[in-house]
Amino acid sequence: MNINLENEIFELDELHILDPEKLNFSLEESGFLTLDDGEQVYSKVNLTRLLPFKTKTEYISVSYEDDEEQFHEIGVIRDINELQGEQFEIADNFLKFKYYMPEITRIYSIRDNMRGYIFVKVDTNAGKKTLCIRDWYSNFKLISPTELYVVDADGNKYTCPDIRSLDKKSKNNIDMFV
């Protein structure tokens, strides 16, 4: 929307919902994406989940950095599932990479050292691991009634999308710490 006030023109930001049919993404060498929306080609395009805890494919912000590394949002995609065929794959793959988050499939044990740390022995889809979690009151928590979200001391993030699907022991272990 442009407001014309005594010959001064100001650009007001608005929510710009992108039409999934017109978008054409491709992976570039930089690890980011290139986007052709039919009018313009953007490079170093970044996708961001606006509601990462709530949905993995809906409300994806599409932005790019210009040559001066200034951030510009191109718009928001309501749901990348509406992208055309291979386009979905590219976008989803990028998101999965950016939000790389191994899924916890089992929790063997949780040890509280009574000094604000816990050590969680887990099995994830990226292998077995003992997670060292600092300040666990805030870094080991449920973000919905069923989803567990964990950030370890290095900053790696782990999730368990549905704790109801875990075995009984894992569930009990979680129960006592969230």
Partner: protein
């Protein structure tokens, strides 16, 4: 930092070699990024997949994403993805980028020689700046620590203990007298009134004595418990004051309040009610066990046999209970957090009319708390009757067998009565002892929460021979890196020099790290890398006391303590006279409005007192800083809530005041800073430009754009107004 963790097979020239563990399809892989003295080589397993001369790229960037990070090379406008890795390696890659940047500048591949990364000898976990491995630290020790707290009161404790034991002994003697009465007087129908009265007198006497002991005991234990409670509360509070900002801010205020008040209280209760009791009960169980064993070993066996079973069972139960009580603790803390949050933000709640939401939130937290208690206690309530039952089986057996022994005349009736009295007595302390896991579990949680604070090493600690100096006011940033989280740098490679007496402005977009720079100067946090020098001395070698008494700050969110205007200004300097306070208020342009307040300088402001406007609060804060008379004055958006006129007045007054002092100002309105000697322009965590206003305007860089952008919006505002 160790930048040569492991090398791929067949690579012999690696100067640095860091593993990477992801590919762009989010598969776990096993690769290495190797730097030789002239090449960067990317390995997948043990094969080179890509290699470039080190000079090929203009810049190496460690790009942090959400769940992983990647190393990217930039050549002109082109960027090339090199490898991806989980955050575990992020710091190392970030370090590597710095080394490569240095290489690009100087042509030298130079590594920080300090490769020592201490790790725990037991489990191998890295010990980043902790003294004991958090994984291997024992938790049983916390109770010992609690007991050590009682040391100053050991005489009181001894007195209380002695009295209780004496009382206990009396209760053991008493059945012996009863037995004499029954066996020597009642059954043989003995009419020796004299001896009878003596024994009765003795009975009354010892009961009186017991009563006296009891009173002394109560007084002594109460005094001790209250003192320990007071000490603990005070100590936790004092420690919280001394902790670094990062330690304090990672805990919620509700959680901290809880520790100072409830947890310390719980420990006090534990000591007053249970600590001594525990010793006494153990003592009486042992005494009574020995007694009944000596009196009749066969009967004693029946009584004592179930005890080991119950003990075993209870130890197991303790573990379960302590986890569950830990949960209760968290739920109650969450409840206090909700309470604290809502009450603090009551203005927002009311102005948005969201009372109902607040009430719901509270109800939820409250319910969860109640639920967690129920969850913890249900285990207890379900298992408790069972333990008690097992325990008391013995007493029935004693009656059965003892009764038949009386009939067989191998035991006198008096003996049996005495015996069963002892057996009954043993169940008292035993019953109490099996309650112990619950009490202990509950207390363990509080003990560990309290000691978690007391034992925390302040990560911003004074060095051993910290200097107390008179600060002149030179400040140097020497290649400073800092992030609130290690893996998320906010300031990157800041280097600049501020001379004594200069007025410096820091500008940049909001969130770029301006306040962070201030926090570092104040040493609320320590920088992750690089140094900050004041008068040529690393601030880590200055005592924090000397640093902070000579640096004055006015922040944007000013906080007024509950108290009068007078108290709030005087806060900066306890011993200042009233006249000094007034002149400070005058300089800060605060005097005039204070005069108009109903009770002048005695008007109560702060938490729930007379509500001042944002600008008025800021002026009080400025007065506070002026009174502080600092060598270095820091104004972090200090005049942001003031109108332009007042701002100008204050500035004028300040400029008289700040002569000869180093001043660092952050202001949103850039015009405020145009008379600064130098401006430091931050952009994306780096120092983009530095110089006086005119020079920067001529350069047409970041600052120029900031100013232009602001002029535009100001114009717009003027038009709308």
């Amino acid at each position: 930092m160790n930048l040569k963790l492991s090398t791929p097979k067949g690579e012999e020239n690696a100067t640095f070699s860091i593993p990477y563990d992801l590919n762009t399809r989010t598969k776990k892989v096993n690769g290495h990024c190797v730097i030789t003295d002239n090449e960067i080589r990317i390995y997948l397993d043990d094969d080179i997949t890509e290699k470039y001369p080190l000079d090929y790229f203009d810049e190496y960037i460690c790009e942090q994403l959400i769940g992983c990070s990647m190393l990217v090379g930039r050549k002109g406008d082109q960027r090339k993805f090199l490898c991806a890795f989980t955050q575990t390696y992020f710091i190392r890659y970030a370090e590597l980028c710095k080394i490569l940047e240095f290489y690009k500048r100087t042509g030298e591949l130079f590594a920080d020689d300090d490769q020592s990364e201490p790790s725990c000898t037991k489990c191998g976990l890295p010990l980043d700046s902790e003294t004991i491995c958090p994984f291997c630290a024992k938790k049983s020790e916390v109770f010992l620590k609690l007991i050590k707290r009682a040391k100053p009161y050991k005489w009181l404790f001894a007195l209380a203990l002695l009295c209780t034991i004496l009382t206990e002994v009396i209760w053991i003697i008493q059945p012996r007298l009863q037995r004499t009465i029954i066996d020597d007087f009642v059954i043989p129908r003995n009419k020796d009134l004299h001896s009878f009265l003596i024994i009765c007198g003795m009975l009354v006497g010892i009961i009186l004595l017991a009563w006296i002991f009891e009173v002394v005991n109560m007084k002594a234990s109460f005094k001790m418990a209250l003192s320990i409670g007071k000490d603990l509360r005070q100590e936790v509070f004092a420690k919280v004051q001394k902790l670094s900002m990062s330690s304090v801010s990672k805990r919620t205020t509700g959680g901290l309040i809880r520790r100072v008040s409830n947890d310390a209280m719980k420990l006090q209760e534990f000591i007053s009610q249970n600590g001594k009791e525990l010793i006494v009960r153990l003592f009486s169980v042992t005494m009574l066990s020995i007694l009944i064993f000596v009196m009749n070993p066969k009967l004693a066996l029946f009584v004592l046999a179930p005890i080991p079973i119950v003990i075993f069972f209870n130890v197991k139960l303790f573990n379960v209970m302590s986890i569950r009580y830990g949960r209760v603790w968290r739920m109650s803390t969450r409840h206090s957090t909700v309470l604290h949050d809502t009450l603090n933000g009551i203005r927002v709640v009311k102005s948005y009319g969201t009372e109902k939401y607040a009430i719901d939130q509270h109800e939820k937290a409250s319910m969860n708390w109640a639920k967690s208690i129920r969850n913890a206690d249900i285990v207890w309530l379900l298992t408790m009757p069972f333990s008690r039952y097992i325990l008391s089986i013995g007493s029935y057996l004693v009656l059965l067998i003892g009764g038949s022994m009386v009939l067989d005349q191998t035991l006198t009736l008096g003996q049996l009565v005495q015996y069963t009295t002892y057996v009954a007595m043993i169940y008292g302390p035993l019953g109490w002892l099996i309650e112990l896991p619950r009490i202990l579990a509950d207390t363990t949680v509080s003990v560990s929460r309290v000691f978690e604070i007391l034992d925390e090493d302040t990560d911003v600690a004074d060095s051993e021979n910290a200097l107390d100096i008179d600060i002149k006011g030179d400040i140097t940033f020497d290649d400073v890196y800092f992030g609130y989280k290690v893996y998320n740098p906010v300031l990157k490679g800041i280097s600049c020099e501020i001379k004594q007496g200069e007025m410096i402005g820091i500008v940049g977009h909001s969130g770029v790290g301006k306040s962070t720079m201030i926090n570092l100067i104040l040493r609320l946090y320590d920088c992750t890398q690089g140094r900050i020098l004041i008068d040529g001395i690393d601030i880590r070698n200055l005592s924090q006391d000397s640093l902070r008494t000579q640096v004055g700050v006015v922040l944007q969110e000013t906080f007024l303590f509950d108290g009068s205007v007078y108290d709030n200004i005087r806060y900066a300097k306890e011993d200042s006279s009233f006249e000094e306070i007034i002149s400070a208020a005058k300089i800060a342009n605060a005097h005039d409005f204070i005069v108009k307040l109903p009770e002048g300088y005695n008007t109560r402001v702060g938490d729930k007192g007379y509500s001042l406007s944002g600008g008025e609060r800021q002026r009080i804060a400025i007065a506070r800083a002026i009174l502080h008379d600092p060598k270095i004055l820091i104004l972090d958006e200090a005049t942001a809530s003031l109108d332009t006129q007042t701002e100008r007045n204050i500035q004028e007054a300040l400029s008289r005041l700040i002569e000869g002092r180093t001043t660092i100002a952050i202001a949103h309105r850039l015009s405020t800073l145009s008379n600064a000697d130098k401006l430091i322009v931050l952009d994306k965590g780096r120092l983009a430009e530095m110089g006086p206003h005119e020079e920067l305007m001529r350069n047409g860089g970041v600052y120029y754009k900031l100013v232009m952008a602001q002029r535009q919006t100001t114009k717009m505002k003027e038009v709308i107004d």
